[in-house]
């Protein structure tokens, strides 16, 4: 039945492509889509999904979730030469989680696994861990961006004014920041570039200017092993931690969380997380990947993000879905609230405490593999 629907929506989606107002057929296709399409969420995703099905057509994200990676309306100045439509909140009345970062968060211009490369950032599967009836997810990350190119260029300028009170921004940079000045200071180099930490703090500040909460993640690790343990070293981890501290922003040491998870899963399993895997690489005459994740790897990374969110005191945890219950909260040494969340997120939902307690009550992971709990 689902397949038929997908096919059907594929077929009719062309009809809906460039039409901003969602016609009746669109809501029909979306209301029949998986259960996540609630009364409140069905209308908006419908029109987006219709378009995105046409553009994306991937095998992983269902029609309801696909619109979180790609919008429907071309925006002047957007990269991608006409192929990238920045996603927007599906339901403007709900709070929004804006996800920003580089290709490890959203991969490729289309953000859809890019054909058969099947590379995915964690900003795609993360939608499955949130209750889409309560919050919008908008993945504004874009491959190739650095902290400064994201801040100075199209992306942040376009997105920042759209952040509203009660929204969340979760950011992760560093993979492309090799030439960004190191540190968290205010100095500017000869090219007019600030430090990595300055940009991160600026994201936090300008998110707060809009009444939102900004969570900083350290970058995802490269696949580096030493003596059977992950041993990826990257100075952007410490810079991110320091920037979060200085900005009093909640911090998730995603780099460490993922490495601990990999240590448990082991090298052979982790080889399957990066795309192309050694096997696929051999079949396609490519190099095996050590930075960009495939769908499975993006889920692992997403779960590590979720575990961090569950350990933080920000109200974001109140918006997690039932699926997130199987993810154990991150160890305390992998997150830092930096004492700011309480003062900057006064707009948290009343359900906060309930959601926190209920989720922590069910942290006994049904599937150990799905848990980020370590040691």
């Amino acid at each position: 039945m689902k397949n038929i629907l997908l096919t059907f929506s594929c077929f009719i989606s062309t009809a809906l492509l460039a039409q901003t107002p969602a016609p009746a057929a669109a809501s029909a296709s979306a209301s029949a889509a998986p259960a996540a399409a609630s009364a409140s969420a069905s209308a908006a995703p419908a029109k987006s999904a219709a378009t995105s099905t046409q553009i994306l057509g991937d095998k992983h994200l269902n029609d309801v979730a696909r619109y979180t990676q790609m919008g429907t309306v071309a925006v002047t100045g957007a990269p991608g030469n006409g192929r990238y439509f920045p996603p927007v909140p599906a339901d403007p009345t709900l709070p929004t989680l804006w996800v920003i970062g580089d290709s490890t968060v959203r991969n490729g211009t289309l953000g859809d696994g890019v054909g058969n490369h099947d590379q995915w950032g964690w900003g795609a599967p993360i939608v499955n861990y949130f209750d889409m009836k309560k919050i919008n997810i908008v993945n504004r990350a874009f491959g190739g961006t650095t902290s400064h190119s994201f801040y100075d260029g199209f992306f942040w300028k376009n997105m920042q004014p759209q952040i509203k009170k009660g929204d969340f921004v979760i950011l992760q940079f560093g993979a492309n920041d090799g030439s960004t000045p190191v540190g968290t200071g205010d100095q500017v180099n000869a090219q007019g570039m600030h430090t990595f930490g300055w940009y991160l703090k600026q994201f936090v500040k300008e998110t707060r200017d809009q009444g939102g909460t900004c969570i900083i993640c350290s970058l995802t690790p490269r696949k580096n092993w030493a003596n059977g343990k992950m041993n990826d070293v990257n100075n952007h981890v410490d810079q991110a931690a320091q920037a979060a501290k200085e900005a009093n922003a909640p911090y998730i040491d995603l780099h460490e969380l993922i490495q601990r998870r990999y240590d448990i899963d082991g090298k052979d399993q982790v080889d399957l997380y990066y795309m192309p895997t050694p096997e696929v690489a051999a079949a396609t005459n490519q190099k095996a990947e050590s930075l960009h994740t495939g769908w499975d790897g993006s889920i692992v990374n997403a779960e590590c993000v979720i575990s961090g969110i569950k350990s933080l005191k920000t109200p974001l945890a109140a918006f997690l879905s039932d699926k997130a219950k199987s993810v154990a909260p991150a160890p305390a040494d992998c997150v830092a609230d930096n004492s700011a969340s309480a003062t900057t997120t006064e707009s948290g939902t009343p359900a906060k405490m309930d959601a926190k307690s209920s989720s922590s009550a069910s942290t006994v992971p049904a599937q150990p593999a799905a848990s980020a709990k370590t040691n």
């Binding site: 492509l17 553009i55 192929r83 491959g143 492309n176």
Partner: protein, 309 residues
């Protein structure tokens, strides 16, 4: 750093993109946009051990530099998304501005040199085959055997060039597939899509029939799809500028590519059936059961064109 370069390339267009380090053929860099890889000038198959779909045609298949720098895209760009990269290569060798004749004389040999047994050549010409063979670069209209000497070049008919592509593809042990040209976006006041059933689309159909070649009536399929969608929706497929009625943007390119895929799937013995990606598998076969494009006396049209030039 490489990603930064790629981003800059996206932002600032093909000039800068051309400066990004070209990956060695043996190990192409996956971080590079795969579409741009297959669209590059004289692009080669990613994996020479696999069969390859070669696309040849004009700007409606491969627009400009193939990077969308003017926001226009031919359908050959998204086309590769519908195929399983681990099983087949897609290489877009189409070139804007070419006619069946000019592509044959200037670019075809470079393609043919690389076509191997088991490959596929999908061809689509006609948009630039109008006009005079003497003052322009077009073929002689029709499908006949007549020739014309133009500055020392023996110019043949549209059908002759198409037949040559087919023959030479088959000589290599590869499979030719003909597409009729993509139509111009012309709606009539009554909501019908204006068709020209007497020229290059008809000649492509007749050539396919005469040579027993797999044929996709892309012209008619796009026309029908456009009528289903309606004028306003289809308008978003063309341009910029808004007055554009032939060259597609990304949305239009995707739509046209899905017509080609849908038509392939409708073939009784689709030779590409085993090569579709997950995305390709999800595209339903198009309904080609309706009467095919009526061929209105192409022979007569050919004869008429012979007499004109």
């Amino acid at each position: 750093m490489k990603k930064l370069l790629l981003l800059l390339a996206c932002l600032f267009g093909p000039a800068l993109f051309a400066q990004t380090p070209t990956p060695a053929p043996a190990a192409p860099d996956l971080h590079e946009d795969p579409v741009l890889h297959s669209q590059a000038f004289n692009a080669m198959p990613m994996n020479p051990a696999l069969p390859t779909i070669w696309l040849i045609g004009d700007s409606t298949v491969h627009n400009g530099t193939g990077t969308g720098s003017d926001l226009l895209w031919g359908w050959g760009a998204p086309f590769e998304y519908y195929f399983d990269r681990t099983r087949i290569n897609v290489v877009n060798r189409a070139m804007g501005g070419t006619s069946s004749r000019s592509f044959y004389t200037s670019l075809w040999s470079k393609v043919l040199d690389n076509v191997k047994k088991g490959d596929f050549v999908i061809m689509q010409f006609g948009a630039n085959d109008n006009g005079s063979p003497v003052t322009g670069k077009t073929s002689i209209k029709g499908i006949g055997d007549e020739t014309q000497d133009v500055n020392g070049e023996t110019v043949h008919t549209f059908g002759w060039y198409m037949t040559q592509y087919i023959k030479e593809t088959r000589d290599k042990g590869a499979t030719p597939i003909i597409c009729s040209l993509t139509p111009r976006n012309r709606f009539q006041p009554d909501g019908h899509f204006l068709r020209d059933n007497t020229t290059h689309a008809a000649w492509a159909a007749q050539t396919a029939k005469d040579t027993n070649t797999l044929y996709i009536d892309l012209y008619e399929l796009i026309a029908r799809k456009s009528e289903q969608l309606g004028k306003d929706a289809v308008a978003a497929y063309y341009g910029p500028p808004a007055t554009e009625y032939l060259h597609t943007n990304w949305l239009g390119a995707v739509s046209n590519a899905e017509c080609v895929v849908g038509a392939l799937k409708a073939m009784k013995d689709d030779p590409l059936a085993n090569y579709f990606s997950e995305r390709g598998k999800r595209i339903p076969a198009m309904d080609v059961s309706q009467p095919p494009l009526p061929v209105k006396a192409p022979a007569a049209a050919a004869a008429a064109s012979t007499s004109t030039k």
